[in-house]
Amino acid sequence: MTTAVRRRRAPAVEPVETAATPGARRGAAWWLPVAAVVLVATVLVAVTIGPADLTVADVWRSVATHLGLGGALGLEPLGALPDGMVWELRLPRVLTAAAVGAGLAVCGVVMQSLTRNPLADPYLLGLSSGASLGAVLVLVAGLTVLLPLAAFGGAVAALAAALGLAGAIGTITPTRTVLAGLAVSQLAAAATSFVIFWSATGDSYREILSWLMGSVAGATWTSVAIAGVAVLVLGTLLASTGSVLDAFTFGDTAAAALGVPVARVRWLLLVGVALLTGALVSQSGAIGFVGLILPHAVRMLTGARHRLLLPLSALCGASFLVWADTLARTVFAPREVPVGIVTAAIGAPVFALLLWRGRRIA
């Protein structure tokens, strides 16, 4: 062995690079507890922000009371008005934003890795366009109660169309998947525009626009339950596929050579992403940029290994969307802007900065 590997050239080590990047990576596991603490603090603080002077202690009192721990902890219940503000309005909204942000970030990581496309986001397979079409149809018809169901149905129908189209061409490869998604997406977008153009008037126009930009303004505990359960079940399943996604680092063939059943894994993960995204979109509309940018930002901290990237993206996505939504409802108070505008306004410059600094992600 020694003769065979005898070196003939000087070892090519560049000390600068060695010191910079991986050093930061080795400590990257610490980001996980830090991000978890930040998320809890974010939720508690974000609930206090807005009209009516609430404190973190007030929030804590309300939560403890509703969980039936008030007596045990010796806490006075909050007054009816502030309690309603915390428990009925702000907490559901903040928690929905957190769940949606976490889910979108995880879906974004999975889609980017699975399609090996740095521009992939959770909506790549036409999910947002499908959901939008479903939502706009019921909004125009005045059946607002059916909105979540219609949005979810639209997303799943778009996914089925995209995967069906990709499968009809042949094996489900990343390129075919993306192209099929694009076709479905364009078609659904055209149909949506047509419906709006043809029949939307006054209020429904505004409602539609707000939904298309993405918003958690109307979130209730039902929204928390739907988005939360979807994230806990599907998000946890997706986040546990780190090793499998790692295997795709050098492409499909490399993954297959490492014993990964590539076609089956791609199907399962795409369907998982679609169901989770569909559930989230049904509650919040199609909030852009979170699923695109968060994965890139977190990857700069952790490197490309998914075991850390997935959970950390979830935590960061949750905190990010809570703050984005807090801005959306406070910056122009008493008017609100759709949170999608805020995520785009923050996301686009941040993305440009990341591209400029990283220069390698795309």
Binding site: A4, T21, T249, L258
Partner: protein, 282 residues
């Protein structure tokens, strides 16, 4: 696995079915009605470096991919009873993860845009050895370090793969394959696009593997390199095996000239005594 400890005596250029190496028979593959591989029989003895040769489009890459189990089945669904046996086991019937612990495949161009370090890239080779939910164990890291040492790339461990030169990247891909601790390694043009020193590095690594008892089968474009470094060669043309056996039997004008449409002269290397091939137009 067994590779590390096996002390197989290197079998010098054995033709015919080896008792302990790769033995594939009747391998066919077709796409869109075109037969790319037509009943190929190929053997690669354990402990030897076998070269898979042939002109462009002769089916070298497809054959390696079929043997590695990474090629989708023929689109007409035929397989004509192909049999791929390694060390007595039917490779294509093995569960994927077990196959990935026996066989490693180094493809021709595997690239990534992701910010992955060399050590992390090599650790990917440990995926078939651990539960999908587990992280890297100390064993995994030790195996990755051993693999990096074996390709003389320990100094690259913390570099990002995207910053490496072609030769360095090729050694890292080999290390990733070695981290799988395979008994059989298949390589598709491992010397492609490399400068001559890097080509020799790659072939030296293959020789060291063979000396440890690993079965090595590499598709090579360069007949001259094959003549210098292989024990056993298989020559493909138009999806069929034209000749197989020891370098001295296959890499001769009578065999090569009709396949490549050139005129071949065989000289003798003044130092190693191995055949040196030169070519001129016919």
């Amino acid at each position: 696995m067994t590779t590390e400890t096996r002390t197989h005596v290197p079998a010098p250029s054995v033709a015919g079915p080896p008792d302990d190496g790769l033995d594939a028979a009747r391998v066919s593959w077709s796409t869109a009605g075109r037969l790319i591989l037509d009943g190929v029989d190929v053997t690669a003895p354990a402990g030897a470096v076998s070269g898979l040769l042939g002109p462009n489009g002769s089916g070298k890459s497809t054959l390696l991919r079929v043997l590695a189990g990474v090629q989708p089945p023929s689109d007409d669904g035929r397989d004509d009873g192909a049999r791929v046996v390694f060390a007595g086991a039917d490779l294509l019937a093995l569960p994927r993860r077990r196959r990935a612990r026996t066989l490693a495949f180094v493809e021709q161009e595997a690239s990534t845009d992701l910010p992955v370090t060399v050590l992390d890239a090599v650790l990917l080779g440990r995926i078939p050895h651990r539960s999908p939910l587990a992280g890297d164990s100390a064993d995994d890291r030790a195996a990755a370090r051993r693999a990096l040492d074996a390709v003389d790339a320990a100094g690259l461990a913390d570099r990002e793969v995207t910053t490496l030169s072609g030769g360095e990247r090729q050694r890292v891909h080999m290390a990733r394959a070695l981290a799988q601790e395979p008994a059989l390694i298949l390589l598709d043009e491992p010397t492609n696009h490399l400068d001559i020193a890097a080509q020799l590095d790659a072939l030296r690594i293959l020789r060291a593997l063979a000396d440890r008892g690993v079965t090595v089968l590499a598709a090579l474009h360069d007949l001259h390199l094959a003549a210098q470094h292989c024990d056993h060669v298989v020559l493909l043309s138009g999806g069929r095996v034209v000749a197989a056996g020891a370098v001295g039997d296959v890499l001769v004008p009578d065999v090569l000239d009709p396949v490549y449409g050139v005129r071949t002269e065989v000289l003798t290397h003044p130092r190693t005594g191995r055949p040196v091939l030169t070519f001129s137009p016919r």
